[in-house]
Every structure is written in structure tokens, then in C-alpha cells.
């Protein structure tokens, strides 16, 4: 299953790209409208890119009244990414969503201040008000992501989205000042892939809930590796910026990579990376 990473596609300006995915994940919705961070918001680096968008979105009320009805018309399964600055923010948005495929709780945006509650407390507050599938999107910037995964699973999460971007900084080589308006940004692209693999690998060993893997996927082989690490779905982020045709390409490459390994389906490779570990143990 191929999705987009939240914030990396606008289905309303590029409906044909959204339709080439198995589901569209919205940009994160917060209770109040947000302009987002000041420009400059994008900086390419040697092995990735930094973004500092800052959860720009029209706010919950406008999203529900204006954006969501237009998204329904696309006929693509919808995942709504929910953000906030307190557990109550998240829960109030979740309570007003219905009929969608899943909710992704953005618990890890590196470009805004975090809610004071723990990820598990936020999941718990949302679990109390919705029966929709809840996916917790976690940051790789933690000592023990498996522990965070166990905590959100215990709090009622139905799945994990791994990983969000890493916080990074790029300096202008002439002035030595930050290239982004807000200073730091979220680091994504190919450099993130090993980080994503490690997070999926660790969490897959720690919890039983499904994982959407994302981070630096550029090819079908990248997607297969995330599946082998334990993901049961893969999301595309930065690659969509340079290649809006990536979903179809990666889907077909994924089939070729699976067939080359005598797998009937790419998901047959799921957790393949863990088998040598088990063999080493026994």
C-alpha cells in the first residue's frame, strides 16, 4: 500500500497524483488556522532537504467545511493528519472526523512547539473520542523509539507512522546565517532512509500494530527494504516534489523487486530483515 507522507502532496492541486496512491494523507490540521513559518521555507542540502513550513493549514473548521468535502469528491481513501498544541486539541479534531480511512496523529513535527503531554496521553485522549483507526506518527529523535511505540500501542493506537523528519540546520555559505526563515527545519530525503529503517526495525520488534514506513524512499527497492524492516505500508514524501509520477514508478519497481526474490507479493517480504536476527539468536 502506497500513501503520501503528510505535507508532501496537496490532492486538490494535484488530484492525478493523489489518485495514483492507495490513500491520500492530508496536511496536518490544527484547531486554529496557521499561516505557517516565515519564508524562506525550503533549503536543499547535500543529501536531503530541509523544510520549515510550520503546519500551515486553514484550521479545523475551514478544513471540515470546505476542504474535506472537496477531498471526498476525489474518490481516494482519506487519512487526516491531526495536530495540536495540547491533548485536547487533538481529541477535539478527532471527535469531529468520521468516515475516513484513518487518523494520523502528528506527534512529532520538528517545526513547531510540542504539546506538553506525552504522545501516549494524546493517543489516549483521542482513543476516548473516536473509533477511527489511529496512527501515531513518531519522531526518530528519541533515545528509544521502541519504548515510545509500546507506550502509544498501550494507549490505544492502531498503528504507527514512522518516521517524521529530523531537525536540521543549513547555513548560507556566504553569510553563515541560517538559510531558513525560522532557522531550523525538518530534514528529509535520501539521508533519512537509514534512520527510518532503524525506527521501523526497532518498533516492528517491539509492537504488534501495523507500521506505515516512510523516510527517503526514492525507489521500489527502498520501499521493499522498509517492508522487510517491518512496515506493511509505505509513504512517499520528498520524492513527490521532484517526481510526481513516483507512485506508479515505485509500485512497478516494487513488483519487480519482489518477483526477483521469488515473492508472490511485496508484503511477503515483511519482517524479512528480522529473520537473520532470530537465526543468530537460536
Amino acid at each position: 500500500m502506497l500513501l503520501n507522507a503528510s505535507g508532501c502532496l496537496d490532492a486538490l492541486t494535484a488530484p492525478e497524483v493523489a489518485r495514483s496512491l492507495d490513500g491520500f494523507v492530508t496536511k496536518t490540521i490544527t484547531p486554529e488556522p496557521r499561516k505557517g513559518n516565515p519564508p524562506v521555507r525550503i533549503a536543499e542540502t547535500a543529501a536531503g532537504m530541509l523544510n520549515s513550513i510550520g503546519l500551515a493549514n486553514p484550521g479545523r473548521t475551514c478544513f471540515l467545511a470546505e476542504t474535506l468535502p472537496r477531498l471526498w469528491e476525489l474518490g481516494v481513501p482519506l487519512w487526516v493528519s491531526v495536530g495540536g498544541f495540547s491533548a485536547a486539541d487533538y481529541a477535539e479534531t478527532c471527535a469531529r472526523l468520521e468516515g475516513i480511512e484513518a487518523v494520523e496523529l502528528n506527534l512529532s513535527c520538528p517545526n513547531v512547539d510540542e504539546a506538553p503531554e506525552s504522545a501516549a496521553a494524546i493517543v489516549s485522549a483521542c482513543r476516548a473520542v473516536t473509533s477511527l483507526p489511529l496512527y501515531a506518527k513518531l519522531s526518530p529523535s528519541t533515545w528509544d523509539i521502541a519504548e515510545a511505540a509500546r507506550a502509544v500501542e498501550a494507549a490505544g493506537a492502531d498503528g504507527l507512522s514512522l518516521v517524521n523528519t529530523l531537525r536540521g540546520l543549513a547555513l548560507d555559505e556566504r553569510t553563515l546565517l541560517p538559510r531558513l526563515g525560522r532557522g531550523t527545519g525538518g530534514y528529509s530525503g535520501p539521508a533519512l532512509k537509514p534512520v527510518a529503517l532503524a525506527a521501523v526495525y526497532a518498533c516492528s520488534a517491539a509492537v504488534g500494530i501495523p507500521i506505515v514506513g516512510m523516510g527517503g524512499v526514492q525507489s521500489g527497492l527502498d520501499a521493499l527494504e522498509l517492508i522487510a524492516a517491518g512496515a506493511s505500508a509505505v509513504a512517499l514524501g520528498t520524492i513527490l516534489f521532484s517526481d510526481p509520477a513516483a507512485p506508479a514508478r515505485i509500485r512497478s519497481e516494487l513488483a519487480v523487486e519482489a518477483a526477483a526474490r521469488d515473492l508472490g507479493h511485496p508484503l511477503d517480504a515483511r519482517r524479512a530483515a528480522h529473520s537473520s536476527l532470530q537465526m543468530g539468536v537460536s
Binding site: 505535507g7 536543499e44 530525503g189
Partner: protein
């Protein structure tokens, strides 16, 4: 928008700039002021470039090699291939009376195509040096100035309909002088088609995506 693998048909020096020509294949040139995302070889992200010249089956882009991406584009040679996505954004409105084109530096890039579509109206172009000003040869009927003279100093009292592209201070000065001018802005972009929200600029207190709502905007 359409994504095509395009073959480079030529690259020539125009002052410090490079005029990169590609086989358009099935790509529509669009309206002057619209842009394409050009794959920058070896880089993660493509670069937004407005169409400089559009001939039958050929698109040309005027590129200033200011960073690694534009330098990679300027190093392309005839026969090499690159991904090209477009046309994107909103171009200039062409149904205007007494058009006057105004360009500054690499901002003259969309003006040759615009001039052709408007029947070669008068133009005022400003550059930082005589070397940069060699690019003025691409725009017919152009009056050229070089710093310390600015284009706004050559602007007539009743300029007609100004269609402009250039550095931000130039566009800001024009906006103050000519409230109904059509101005083509620039911002760093990752995608060019509304996905990344990276190119948002503040207009009337709202942050808007330049790639979707621009790059050509009304001054007022």
C-alpha cells in the same frame, strides 16, 4: 502539467547566463510567465525556470548559474536528457493595452517569450553590468540601463500596462509606482505544483503558494 524526459538541443552563453534549449516533446509551452521544473542533474530537487523562448518543439530557459542546481543545469550538453515538468502556475495576462515590459537581471528570462506573444512591445531592462546586459539582445525594442541607473528611472509618467519580472526591490518599487502592474515573483520551490508549501509568500496578510497562485500576481 505534464512530465517529460527532454533532450538538450543546445546551450549557449548569453553574458553570464546560459540559454538552455531542450526538445519540448509533447510539452505545451504554456503562457509567458508560466514555468517548468527542470531536473538539476545530481541534485535532489528540480529548479523552477520560466520559458524564455518557445519555438516549434523547442523550449529555451535562461539560467543564471548561482548555485549547485543552476550550475548543474548550465553544464548540460547537447544530447543529454533531463526531466521537465510543466507548464506550471499562472502566467501574464496578455489581453492588455499599451504593454510595457520591465525586467531586471535574470528576471528578463520570461520577457523574450512574452515580447513575442505581445507583438514586440517596448521594454525597459536593467542590469548590474555591461556583461549581464548582453542578455538584453534577447528582448526586441528594449531600452537598457546599467547600475547605478535603475529601470524605475526610465519609466515614463504614463507607462501603460507594466508586465515585469526582476529582483524583489525592483518589483516592490514598481508596485509602488504602477498599482495595476503584473509582476512575476520568485521563491525557492521544492515541487512547483502546490505540494510542498515551500514557496509561500505573504500577500495581503495571507501566505499563499507562489507556484499555484502566481508566479505572476497583480501589484495591487
Amino acid at each position: 502539467m505534464r512530465l517529460e524526459r527532454c533532450r538538450v538541443t543546445g546551450a549557449e552563453q548569453v553574458g553570464p547566463y546560459t540559454l538552455l534549449r531542450v526538445d519540448a516533446g509533447g510539452l505545451d509551452a504554456g503562457v509567458p510567465g508560466q514555468f517548468f521544473m527542470l531536473e538539476a542533474p545530481g541534485r535532489l530537487l528540480p529548479r523552477p525556470m520560466s520559458v524564455c523562448l518557445a519555438a516549434a518543439r523547442e523550449l529555451a530557459f535562461l539560467i543564471d548559474p548561482i548555485g549547485p542546481g543552476t550550475q548543474a543545469l548550465c553544464s548540460l550538453e547537447r544530447g543529454e536528457e533531463l526531466n521537465v515538468l510543466g507548464p506550471l502556475g499562472n502566467g501574464f495576462e496578455l489581453d492588455v493595452e499599451r504593454p510595457l515590459l520591465v525586467g531586471g537581471g535574470i528576471g528578463i528570462a520570461p520577457l523574450p517569450f512574452l515580447s513575442e506573444r505581445l507583438g514586440e512591445p517596448p521594454a525597459i531592462l536593467g542590469f548590474r553590468s555591461d556583461w549581464h546586459a548582453e542578455a538584453a539582445a534577447l528582448v526586441p525594442n528594449a531600452e537598457v540601463c546599467v547600475e547605478p541607473t535603475y529601470v524605475t528611472e526610465l519609466l515614463p509618467d504614463h507607462p501603460g500596462t507594466v508586465l515585469a519580472c526582476g529582483p524583489e526591490p525592483m518589483l516592490a518599487a514598481l508596485r509602488a509606482r504602477v498599482p495595476d502592474a503584473q509582476l512575476a515573483w520568485e521563491a525557492p520551490m521544492a515541487c512547483g505544483y502546490g505540494a510542498c508549501y515551500g514557496c509561500a509568500i505573504e500577500i495581503d496578510g495571507e501566505l499563499r503558494r507562489l507556484c499555484v497562485e502566481g508566479p505572476v500576481l497583480r501589484a495591487a
